[in-house]
Amino acid sequence: MVRRLLLSFTLLLTLAPIAHATPSIALSSGASRSFTLAGNAISDAFFFDAPADAAQLRFAISGTTDVDLLVRYGSPFPGTGPTDVLSVNYLGEGAHYRAISAENSELITIGRYNVRPVRAGRWYVVVLNFANTPSTTSITVTASTAEPGALPVNVVFDDSRSDGFGACSTSEWNDSTPRSAVGGNSGTTLGQQRRNAVLEAARVLAAQLRSPVPVRVKACWANLCDDPATAGDDSLRCTATSAVLASAGPRSIFLRATQMFRDDDGSPAVAAFSNAPFLPRAQTFYAGTPTTKLAGAATCALVGGPCDSTYEARITFNNQIGQATVLGGRNWWFGLDPQPQPATDTDFISTALHELTHGMGFTSFVNVDEEDEPIGAKLDGYDDIYAANAVSVGDDQSVRGFTAISNAARAAALTSISGLRWSGAEATASIDNVRRDEAPPNNLVRLFAPNPVQPGSSLSHVTGTGIFAGLMQPVISGAPRNLGIAGAMLGELGWSSANTIVATESLPRPSLYYDRTRDNHGISFGRVTGNIYYLLFYTYDQAGNPEWFLASGPVIDGVFLASTDASGRSLLRIKFRPGQTPETSVDVAASGIVRLDFNQAQLAPACNDGVARSTASPLAVMTWSLGDDIDQNWCMESILPSGPGTVATPNFTGAWNSVQSGWGFDLASFRAGGSNLLSGLLFYPDANGDGRWALFTSSSPTTPNALVLTQRTGYCRTCAAPAGGASDQSAGTITLNLVTPTTDRAAPNRANLSITYRGPSGGTFVRDVPIALLTEPSAQQ
């Protein structure tokens, strides 16, 4: 079957379901296959049928060039039909997992805890070779019943290269000053003892976490008394009575959301390889450390970088500790055993453990420093997974999601003393939460919420009496080495090994959708056949004149992946050229790209904006780029009512067209007030062949009355919505003789219309023709 791209307004073309090339080479567990992949080429030949008892799948490739690996479960990669020409970016959008490092080998290891978990069924593999020369490549898929063991933490002691996170000295790890064994640390030099102590901290932490994917931690020393990053903050400078001990954090963060950018040649493009489809909570930042487990691959394999210089976390210790003028000359205790009391030194392992735990993602990105953004502001407007686990508990015991409330409400929660809590079930039920048997919400773990807010301390630590808070308290006396409740909390930050419960995926509801903050613009989104949808974006140009754009393509994993034309555009401005062959063409310069994402859209900044929206149908984020407007995000909700008594019979909802390209109309049938009603949008060309649209309504859909066509003048897509919205004027009439909703062109449905565009270009469009549904009749949807 040939999948046809919408090159003209296909209220017009006949779309066929996507045909997929059938991958032809079955892989057997543990049996390596070798093959030659041409330069600048892709192979989608391989698949693996996982057995039902598999708990872990390991996909490994190794080539003689920089080969990359994409993996997808359940259905072939979209855009890999036998007549499709492959796009690297489109393949990226279809990949559930990826390993695209700058190395010649790649590895993806997934378990039952991943968002696309290991389960019986077919796994599809794509191998890419970007070198100009062929690559001799081997591929091995191994299925096993192995459960993830302790997290491998690889501490790197010898990389002082600049990484943007401040100075990094590594000579301290090799300090040859002789030392006697101390507290179980058998290192015979200072450098060895330092390394042993860090490795012990990593071991303690690793024992709490399970993952088959190693985490690389870059370990540094620096003069943190004179760090430009801390010099501006007096509280962080070193004195005889205070000193910075260490700093740490995850290296990078990841987000599962459609984002667009303008590529080097100026074309809009989907940032397919910046997306993180393996994260369970969409529209939410995760620290890079747990992301490795969720992605089944190292950070370098996710971002396409060299693996020897890419880290998941960094920790830096202050090399001024021990100086006579710093902290009273107090030195580090490198013992693996706790320091004898009374302690005279600073426990190195406790310090490292606390900081490494933050590095594993135990931190929120909600702003708690008034010198930056407003207190409570989210990073780029997105939730982070730590904050998403927090709730605000009011004096009346009401519980609100910390990320679902306004900045001001978050700021209030941050200074509520006891009203900021952790809602994650694993931590709540943990034996380390001694409030676990209390009634909700008193059983929830308390997060640090002092008044006034303490930058960096608030939110990202636990506190409160009755909780075995352990290491991750903001202020600590002594030198605890137990994670306490933080161990369970880490599970809810992406480290959990609990089996994923896979939700049944359903196709989105065909309907008219709009963003109520962008009233008078909207889309018609209809299902043509199978998972193929079409999207018609009715909107206005800079002058407020009506115009429309068209897209079509499959819905894959809850995302409308609009197909692109040869120019890379997928949101097409159609030009009507009567008398020419073909009668329509694409105005490439005026066209753009679009995606419609139904995955947890309510969490997206576009939807989670405090505006009340209907929840009758799932929301969707429409991400689009047109002209100078790049990466615009709208929150789309269905206009059509739903529920009992709202479905019209017969139901004419859908996209209708004649056999002629370039024009058509969308109808919406519904019942309200006991009557069948019909709303419609006519799409037609003006005198220049540019697409325009007009509205009409009917209270007697099956009676062929002449309906007034109303031309609406509105506001541009990125302009502020004006008070009053839009102005209307009559532009013509349409008479619909609707008998039965069907795609059968022999059925006696007919349209008779005459419309004159009331804009600068003018033009009268007249037709009296048979019509039929392009989309599937609503009864079949």
Binding site: L37, T83, V85, T241, I253, D263, T363, V475
Partner: protein, 98 residues
């Protein structure tokens, strides 16, 4: 993605028929090598060295000795230098685009 336009030319699939028997490991199989529509440079740019969004903050642990000699540690945070550089880069890119 794109409709194949005909035989021969850039949009046709390339099929590798010959292969070195000794290369790689495991049983050798012949596979179809399919070209992609992006130029090699563009494809590489799409995949390789994606901007790695830095974590916005670092935690900083400091110690304080009280007058009675009690030592406490306190954890705060600061924006990371890498994140500040990232924001600057984004700002520059946006301004350049304008």
């Amino acid at each position: 993605m794109f409709k194949r336009t005909g035989r021969g030319g850039m949009l046709l699939w390339a099929v590798l028929a010959a292969a070195p028997a000794a290369a790689g490991s495991g049983e050798f199989v012949q596979v179809e090598s399919r070209p992609f529509v992006e130029s090699a440079a563009k494809a590489r740019a799409l995949l390789k060295n994606q901007p790695q969004q830095p974590a916005p903050s670092l935690s900083v642990l400091s110690a304080t000795i009280a007058a009675d000699g009690t030592v406490t540690t306190r954890c705060e945070s600061q924006s990371s230098p890498a994140y500040r550089a990232w924001v600057e880069e984004l700002r520059d890119a946006t301004e350049q685009e304008r």
